[in-house]
Amino acid sequence: MTSAIHGNAKMTATATTRVLGVLAIAATALMTVLGLLVSPADVIQGEAVRMLYIHVPSIWIAYGAFVLTSVSSVLFLRRRKRREDQGRHYDRLAGSAAEVGVVFTGITLVTGMLWGKVTWGTYWQWDARLTTTVLLFVTYLGYLALRRLPAEPIIRSRRAAVMALISFINVPIVHYSVDWWRTLHQKASLSVGRRPEITGEMYWTLLYSALTVTIVAAWLIIHRYRVIRLEELRDEEALAALISSRLKKDDGSN
């Protein structure tokens, strides 16, 4: 994926992403057929189980995206001095992965709440996983807010990278504290609807959905990366024009 991004930073479309895009649409269509029509209803959960084909892969991919953000941020901090682009490649990767991660975390929350309404009878309960996920969502929304602020590109990238690392370190702390909180107070919570045994056709459908979501996410990250790159190119071009116009003006006045 890195090479696909790298070699074509100057284009808005390439053969690779076009193939990936077509693949994403085809895979999604098949996923819809498999998930909504072909796969059977669950014995316990009935039709609601079909929500999990979106819900579960979404959170997997969200976590994957956040890991990518963190790894890119570490690479940014470590390599920025040695690289010609001052590590901005990693910064762009971190930013685009985080945004896609936030989108999929949002999808996880919405589908999870709908699933909960059918299965538990309530949209929300203070389940450890739900609580952690919503905190994850807010944390990375903050990260994106920090990235959006006007600042010198290098300062902004630096701040963002540090924040990405702190957030990543914080995820397990949040998770374990919330998890521990809930397990200590099981009585207080509603009886948690058991997640269904996923076997046979359901298992394969879930696995296939995960593959589909991965393709979609990869395509999104690549394109988002390019948009960031294009924005930077636009700024650089404007800057170069400014420098040359300033130089010309001074030469003229001399």
């Binding site: 600042a151 290098i154 630096r158 702190i166 949040v174 504290s177 919330v178 200590l184």
Partner: protein, 222 residues
């Protein structure tokens, strides 16, 4: 290094002593929050007693965030950040010095709030040791996180709104652990208060380590 830390902390505390923002404005406001929270719960005394630990930390979060803002408003005012960067004080000392000053200020705020909770919510302390350890650990974590995020949002136009957004998710485990530990210390819950308190110490240590490593890096411009 210790001398540098104390120099920075002394300066911050002296600024506070002269201006009296923490004691004169933030503490009364935080007390007011305690009153408003009682309104929200319809002054139900048994609910208030049960929730005292959590409500205390909510009020600390509110007042502490204001103190963190103030701590960095002082540095960004009149271009002070430049003088900060031009000084010979090392970044780790700056970080620890500012954290120490915030620790003292938030600690004072907590003393006021603690008395407020004791009076308004009618609580009794059954384990002073736990209460103290949890309060100290929570305050350390609060201070170091505050300085870390404070410098990150310093000089930004939108820092008044951005700082809480960045700070609160990181502080969630502290608030959670603090609330539980206080509940045990106040005798409303027999749970593992000490384990929560030690979790708070671990979190405080983690963020101190991050701050020591990242502060200098975040302080520089361009």
């Amino acid at each position: 290094m210790l001398a540098e830390i104390l120099l920075v902390a002394r300066k911050d505390l002296r600024v506070e002593w002269r201006a009296k923002i923490a004691l004169g404005q933030v503490a009364p406001l935080a007390l007011l929050i305690l009153v408003v929270l009682a309104f929200a719960l319809d002054a139900n005394s048994s609910l208030l007693e049960l929730g005292a630990g959590g409500l205390y930390w909510v009020a600390v979060l509110y007042g502490g965030t204001l103190l963190i803002q103030r701590s960095f408003d002082v540095e960004t005012d009149d271009g002070n950040m430049d003088a900060f960067r031009m000084s010979v004080i090392g970044a780790p000392s700056l970080f620890l010095g500012k954290s120490l000053a915030l620790f003292v200020q938030i600690g004072l705020l907590e003393l006021v709030l603690g008395s407020g909770v004791a009076v308004l919510y009618n609580v009794r302390v059954v384990d002073w040791g736990l209460l103290l350890v949890a309060a100290v650990a929570g305050t350390i974590a609060f201070s170091v996180c505050g300085v870390l995020w404070g410098v990150m949002s310093a000089g930004l136009r939108v820092r008044a709104t951005l700082l809480p957004l960045l700070l609160v998710p990181v502080l969630v485990p502290i608030l959670l652990a603090g609330s539980r530990a206080f509940e045990t210390a106040l005798g409303v819950r027999a749970d593992a208060g000490w384990t929560w308190a030690s979790l708070m110490l671990v979190i405080a240590a983690v963020h101190t380590a991050i701050g020591l490593g990242a502060f200098g890096f975040l302080l520089e411009e361009g």
